[in-house]
Amino acid sequence: MTSNASTLTLAKALNAGLRRSMENDPKVLMMGEDVGKLGGVFRVTDGLQKDFGEDRVIDTPLAESGIIGTAVGLALRGYRPVCEIQFDGFVFPGYDQLVTQVAKMHFRSGGRLRLPIVVRIPYGGGIGAVEHHSESPEAYFAHTPGLKVVTCANPIDAYWMLQDAISADDPIIFFEPKRRYYEKAEVDLDNHPGIGLHASRVVRDGSDVTVATYGPMVKTCLEAAVAAEDEERSLEIIDLRTLSPLDLDPVYESVRRTGRLVVVHEAQRTLGIGTEVAARVTEECFYSLEAPVVRVTGYDTPYPPARIEDDYLPDLDRVLDGVDRALAY
């Protein structure tokens, strides 16, 4: 087993993953607004058009329904389109194609047709952006049978999960934590870490309170765990990684030990992913829970103007506050 390790930012790891997928399978295509020469507004597709040509890296007209709808046709012809949606808030013009077509085509055809489409969406806030550029719409997709939803939290997962998503035969919405694009890690480019695309993972062991989170909030929660140590509180942090299907076995296992769960995400609280986690964990671990599941989330408002986003988004202190509330029972 050779090892070809490289220190990469999350964005560059995604780029490397896309490149690898395109090298491995000539049917893999990139499509979206500005993905070609510009390499995407976050440069995630940087250099791909130059190396793979305009037929495989397609600068599309400016219309998300068209991007998703033509990706359906390309997938039916045997291609594996990877669509980029420029920002979270701009996926909605393509929502009809995603919900009524992409999610249902396999079912509609009685299992005959497959749509191996990946839709990449940079999501989340914390970057000081204007309206529609900081949202967390993952629950809209997780509520939709027929779609799968995953999100990465670090460069290693970015690199491997993206490749795994592209080679999977189901349509997958791939959420990228945009404010973590510039976080770095050493990535082994050759050896798959072995964890499945649809598996969650304990990223820090602990014994007092379980914290389940994903995407941009994983780092925040890990920092909270360090801070909690000072107060002699041991937090177990779980990176959910897969939002649909959820893989809650590690959460159940953990909650059976800790008796307390805090779920953390940026998205609004009502019907956010944390709600489903709370409901299922309560169903599964009813007699183990010492406290109701605490949801530390964005509020049920539109995403606020950038100057006050820090008060909207969960941060280290709000995670700890949630931990306190869980422990107060």
């Binding site: 709808g69 990706a71 997938a75 396999h106 509609r108």
Partner: protein, 384 residues
């Protein structure tokens, strides 16, 4: 201005009407056409008889399905009565390697592509959502969300380009894609976006709009104030209007458009001007919104009658032929009724198997939950 007068103003009278490609008059007279005669000069009497057979048999499928719905065997049916020529003419222009993206009313196209008529019924009976294999006849599933399939067709055509499967000059290789949709569908953003994608990418796709002049209860004037075929020009590709009740004209213009696509010359829009002679679907009541006189007017333009008249006029067929087709239709109808009733209901838990290629454990758990629950009744019954 009432909807009524608006509805009439764009129809009926000939003045101001856009040119309509027509090769057969409603009376079955073959009229010459400078441009399009050449496109069908290879058509033999045998083929004409074949078209007639297509028209009659597909109409029979349609009318049988309406009856089956009345008898409670189908939940719904969307009749294509009146639109047979548009569908047969256009689909007989297809080659084997061409690919079709229908909406939900293309029963005659399905017939011409070789889809088993009984397979069309599953969706309307409620036993599946489309049971034919699109790969088998290059005939995609019906799409109910208005306009959505036009983007699929365009993307598919972009795939054809990427496969090097058009513009090579090889008649067995070069492929085109055809998307069917209605007049109402032209208002959906998706349809305009598909025009843009097709144009910008020069994709080998033919947009075939069956303008049957109604979108449920809404007359054409609620969707456009100029003839629909003109929309193509604004997007940078050719568009024309054809007599949608003239099977030969539909064949000719579609052949031309498909060949353009196969040759790498890009998309076209065909507006087949026709009329929905039946209700929108079996649940619709058209007497609420349109006048009988309109229907009477269009009966005179019946797409089947004019071919029959043409064949008689040009001695291509005799009474025996017509009787033979009728007999064939009767046999097919009989088989259709039988097969419809025999269509099996799916197993309730089958729904869990077809959501994903790779079914997640959480969904398998729901399947088990359902199975256990259903079994509990079996147990109950058994224990009685």
């Amino acid at each position: 201005m009432t909807v009524d007068t608006a509805a009439t103003s764009n129809r009926g009278a000939a003045d101001g009407e856009p040119e309509l490609v027509q090769l057969l008059t409603p009376e079955g007279q073959r009229i010459p056409h400078e441009r399009y005669d050449a496109l069908i000069d290879d058509i033999t009497a045998d083929e004409i008889r074949g078209f007639y057979r297509d028209l009659v048999l597909s109409r029979r499928i349609d009318s049988e399905a309406v009856s089956l719905q009345r008898q409670g065997e189908l939940g719904l049916w969307a009749s294509m009565l009146g639109q047979e020529a548009a569908q047969v003419g256009s689909s007989r222009a297809l080659r084997r390697q061409d690919h079709v993206f229908p909406t939900y009313r293309e029963h005659a196209v399905a017939w011409c592509r070789g889809v088993d008529p009984a397979q069309l019924l599953g969706l309307f009976r409620g036993v599946d959502q489309g049971s034919w294999d699109p790969a088998q006849n290059n005939f995609h599933l019906y799409t109910i969300v208005i306009g959505a399939q036009t983007l699929h067709a365009t993307g598919y055509a972009m795939g054809v380009q990427r496969d090097g499967a058009n513009g090579t000059g090889d008649p067995d290789r070069d492929a085109a894609v055809i998307a069917y949709f209605g007049d109402g569908a032209t208002s959906q953003g998706d349809v305009s976006e598909s025009f843009i994608w097709a144009s910008v990418n020069n994709a080998p796709v033919v947009f075939f709009c069956q303008n049957n002049q109604w979108a449920i209860s809404e007359p054409l004037e609620r969707q456009t104030r100029v003839p629909l075929y003109r929309r193509a020009h604004g997007f940078g590709f050719p568009g024309l209007r054809v007599d949608g009740n003239d099977v030969l004209a539909c064949l000719a213009v579609t052949r031309e458009a498909l060949q353009r696509a196969r040759d790498g010359e890009g998309p076209s829009l065909i507006e087949a001007f026709t009329y929905r002679m039946g209700a929108h679907t079996t649940t619709d009541d058209p007497t609420r919104y349109r006048l009988d006189t309109e229907l009477e007017h269009w009966r005179l333009k019946d797409p089947i009658e004019r071919v029959k008249a043409y064949m008689i006029r040009s001695e291509m067929a005799d009474q025996a032929f017509f009787e033979q087709i009728e007999a064939e239709a009767d046999d097919m109808a009989e088989r259709l009724r039988r097969e419809c009733r025999a269509l099996p209901d799916p197993a309730p838990d089958s729904i869990f198997d077809q959501v994903y290629v790779d079914t997640p454990p959480t969904l398998l758990a729901q399947r088990d939950e359902m199975v256990r629950y259903l079994d509990s009744f079996a147990d109950e019954e058994a224990s009685r």
